[in-house]
């Protein structure tokens, strides 16, 4: 057989063979619904007065990117180490994971990333405008004043902060005991604010005249000097020698000037000051009893602080109010009136005296901690004809012949808390910047563009035109999470000093957690509405129509081929996509 004949016998049989791919079929034309990436707002960030981007922070912690997580918090809050310790964390009450098993320990993770930055002395790399001309005066170096100065400095303003005390920090330094907030933590955060060029002038008390003269030197003044004057009880004997005020006592403890206490000590009031005073008194050897006219659940103090105080041995007398204080051989004699709940309407129960029910209480010392008010009248927004704009946590006033004045912190915030003070400082900075650049009329609408969710929380990242502007303001609810992708896992248990160790001295109660524990806790986070690059959309696409891309999202949908089945949207565990 010839060579040719052999090759003929083994030539392939005549069967049809494909010669091209299916890529010429643009199956996108079948589509009648269109998926797209649609990042939304997490409930925690909407509940955070400072509008922190918590879902993203937890995503970064879970990836081990602690510095980036810290910087993400610093976008919105100059005090992560402080707030991680002292904030009442409304974020955790809003956490969707709470409907699944337990909320994420957000405050513990905030403290962890800040402590990690402190430990390695990291320098934050955060968006900042170049320094411009206008100077702004800030009265008070508490959390609102320092936050205002921090955000204004980032917006390019030069700030002078005036503080009447010898050291900056306001309530953070003088009102919060060391077992909740060690002073070196506060100093580290304040140093970072100083490093932005903020000048803090201590021992510099500002008077009403200052406002009149400020126009020459300052474009505007922020007043955030807090509520520092104690409110009177209005009962006989409250001015007796030795009946002390709560805040000065806390200041004394902070200054290291520790008085000896013994026996029963009465603390009158139900706020955080009352609880802190009683816990400090306990550490100094006394047996404190808190006397409060309403019930425990009506106390303005944070619930977890009350619980810890009771655990440590503080006694609580609910529904009793003092009628008079008289001297007694063992100290003081208090006559207490029994109160009864008259109505449960409103956030706190209304109470009235229960006729004929009184009792006596003999104590070695009495502390009054029933509330505070501004020290001087000029520290409050004026009533009258001055042009005024009330925002959620600040009040802007154009004084006649004076500079623009912004009242913030406790003077104007929705609630008296450190994080509301930070929110107030941020709102003030945005308002002042908008006022300086676009005038009075632009302020309200400009600020409303920076809202995180439907409430008053604001984002500086959004004000500066950052990535968060892309987020849909819709707040993700639990039913929108695909829980198939999450396993039940217990919440991180905060390590603490033992009760016996706590009452011995003023050491910080909450202990550090390891990076491994922090990552595990952050991995529990649903990252509601925020893409964490899990890649499910790309993995499950039956049409290979989701592609990697170098855009900020990391991937894109190829609408030439996407048939609109919607699998990507349903399989997104965190509702960061939409089908429409």
């Amino acid at each position: 057989m010839t060579q040719q004949a052999i090759s003929q016998t083994v030539s392939p049989p005549l069967i049809p063979r494909s010669s091209t791919t299916t890529e010429s079929n643009k199956t996108g034309s079948w589509r009648f619904l269109k998926p797209r990436y649609d990042e939304k707002t997490a409930p925690c960030s909407a509940a955070c007065p400072a509008g922190e981007d918590i879902a993203r922070v937890e995503m970064l912690v879970a990836q081990g990117l602690f510095k980036e997580a810290w910087e993400t918090i610093l976008q919105e809050n100059p005090f992560p180490a402080v707030c991680g310790r002292v904030c009442f964390h409304p974020c955790e009450r809003a956490c969707n994971r709470g409907e699944f098993d337990d909320p994420i320990a957000i405050h513990t993770l905030e403290r962890f990333v800040a402590d990690t930055a402190m430990r390695y002395d990291l320098q934050a790399d955060i968006a900042r405008r170049p320094v411009q001309g206008p100077r702004i005066a800030v009265v008070g170096s508490g959390p609102s004043g320092l936050a205002a100065a921090y955000f204004l400095a980032r917006l390019g303003y030069t700030c002078d902060v005036f503080e009447s005390m010898g050291e900056p920090g306001g309530v953070l330094r003088w009102g919060i005991p060391p077992y909740r907030l060690p002073v070196h933590v506060l100093e580290w955060e304040i140093d970072r604010i100083r490093s932005l060029g903020v000048e803090i002038h201590c021992n510099h008390r500002v008077s009403a005249d200052f406002l009149r003269q400020a126009r020459d030197r300052y474009q505007a003044v922020f007043i955030g000097c807090g509520h520092h004057r104690n409110v009177d009880l209005g009962i006989p004997g409250e001015d007796l020698d030795g009946v002390a005020e709560g805040l000065p006592f806390l200041e004394q403890v902070r200054a290291g000037n520790l008085p000896d206490l013994s026996g029963r000590v009465a603390v009158l009031g139900g706020g955080n000051t009352a609880v802190d005073v009683s816990r400090c008194a306990l550490r100094l050897g006394a047996k404190p009893v808190i006397v409060y006219r309403r019930r425990r659940q009506d106390m303005p103090a944070f619930e977890h602080e009350i619980a810890m105080a009771l655990e440590e041995g503080v006694e609580l007398m609910e529904l009793w109010t003092p009628l008079e204080i008289t001297p007694h051989p063992d100290g003081y004699r208090l006559v207490l009136q029994r109160m009864a709940v008259a109505s449960q309407e409103g956030p706190r129960a209304q109470v009235r005296p229960a006729a004929g029910q009184t009792q006596e209480l003999v104590v070695s010392k009495v502390f009054k901690a029933i509330g505070n008010a501004p020290e001087e009248s000029w520290m409050q927004p004026p009533e009258g004809d001055a042009r005024t704009l009330r925002l959620a946590n600040t009040a802007l006033v154009e004084l006649h012949g004076g500079p623009l004045v912004v009242y913030g912190g406790d003077l104007a915030a929705l609630e008296k808390s450190v994080t509301h003070a930070v929110a107030s400082g941020k709102e003030a900075a945005m308002a002042l910047d908008t006022y300086c650049q676009q005038g009075w009329d632009a302020v309200e609408s400009r600020i409303s563009q920076c809202r995180v969710g439907p409430g008053p929380s604001l984002s500086m990242e959004m004000y500066l035109g950052g990535d968060r502007c892309r987020r849909n303001p819709h707040v993700v609810v639990f039913q929108e999470i695909n829980t198939d992708y999450f396993l039940y896992a217990p919440r991180l248990a905060q390590p603490r000093l033992l009760k016996e160790e706590r009452v011995r001295d003023f050491s910080e109660i909450d202990l550090k957690i390891s990076a491994a524990l922090a990552i595990r806790e952050a991995e529990r986070c649903f990252n509601c509405g925020v893409c964490n690059q899990c890649d499910n959309c790309r993995l499950f696409c039956p049409d290979l129509a989701v592609c990697r891309d170098d855009n900020p999202q990391g991937r894109r949908i190829d609408y030439d081929y996407c048939k609109g089945c919607g699998v990507c949207v349903v399989e997104c565990p965190r509702n960061a996509m939409a089908l429409e």
Binding site: S18, T21, T22, D484, L539, P542, C565
Partner: protein, 300 residues
């Protein structure tokens, strides 16, 4: 799992599977796991169409489209031809639907695995003849509507347990897998690839068109089939060694049934009865796997 297995693809866009097609997702995962040294045999089934009209092919590996009943035989021949050429590296895979496996192709399949032919047979199961218009097969589950079991004539016979039929041949490896559990699926394909002899994979592939479900629920429903014990994930080595890969968390079968149009006629009593059947099958599987029942959470 090999690094980046889930990143590679041997399939193109533009195929003509329905929106949300579970069989298309199953093929994507299979080829991610097998890689390019693969030859496919596809007897008549949905994928005969999905792969594209002549002269197109959506797959980046060679495919032999063959007659309905020949999946086992053609793969045996292809393997023999490759062996003759000295190519032992290429994996031969038959990719058949439930009709081509449970019914029409069963004889050729049984014959090939009895001879322990060296290939992987994959049945992607969408529980009816979907390509020709939703006719019932012996894989159609108890309670389902199809165009040949319409209205009140819904199927009142149980689904054939194909894995047990293959296990009875004492083949080296048989396993179930689901498109909702990609890591498990890819691991099983890679394990099958590493074994010589006949290997069988039964992959659950939801069908939005034939099951009357919204296309976006494709994966969700596949996941629920596993969570409810309707489609347990397990593997069997050498016909005797059972391993259960997913322990259920107590979902009721009614959750799975109520999402699908093909089951909408079922009453509470019917669902009760189906729950009992599922429990019975699951307990039987547990006994084979030697797992104590109390530890494995049978749904009461």
């Amino acid at each position: 799992m090999e690094l980046n297995v889930l990143d590679r693809d041997y399939m193109c866009s533009g195929h003509v599977g329905c929106p949300g097609c579970g069989a298309a997702i199953a093929m994507r995962f299979l080829l991610k796991a097998l890689g390019e040294k693969t030859m496919m045999v596809i007897p008549a089934c949905c994928w005969s169409i999905i792969a594209g009209p002549y002269p197109q092919s959506t797959l980046k590996v060679p495919v032999l489209h063959t007659a309905f009943e020949t999946g086992g035989a053609v793969a045996s021949g292809l393997r023999a031809a490759l062996d003759t050429k000295g190519d032992t590296e290429t994996t031969v895979v038959t990719w058949a639907g439930d009709g081509g496996t449970f019914d029409i192709g069963f004889q050729a399949l049984s014959g090939a695995v009895e001879r322990n032919e060296d290939f992987i047979y994959v049945c992607y199961d969408n529980e009816a003849y979907m390509n020709t218009g939703v006719q019932r097969s012996s894989s159609t589950p108890y309670g389902a509507w199809t165009t040949t079991t319409p209205g009140q004539e819904w199927k009142r016979l149980r689904k054939k347990n194909i894995v047990e039929a293959l296990v009875a041949h004492r083949i080296p490896y048989a396993a179930t897998a689901s498109i909702a559990f990609p890591e498990d699926l890819v691991r099983k394909v890679q394990k099958a690839k590493s074994i010589k002899g006949s290997r069988f994979l039964h992959i659950y592939a939801s069908c939005p068109t034939g099951w009357r479900i919204p296309s976006e629920m494709s994966i969700k429903i596949a996941r629920m089939a596993v969570q409810t014990n309707i489609f347990p994930l397990y593997e069997v080595e050498n016909g005797v060694r059972y391993t259960i890969n997913y322990m259920p968390k107590g979902y009721l079968v009614r959750e799975y049934f109520k999402l699908q149009g093909r089951f909408k006629h079922l009453t509470d009593d019917d669902l009760e009865q189906i729950q009992e059947m599922v429990n019975e099958d699951w307990e039987l599987l547990l006994r084979k796997a030697g797992v104590a029942m109390s530890a494995a959470g049978t749904v009461a």
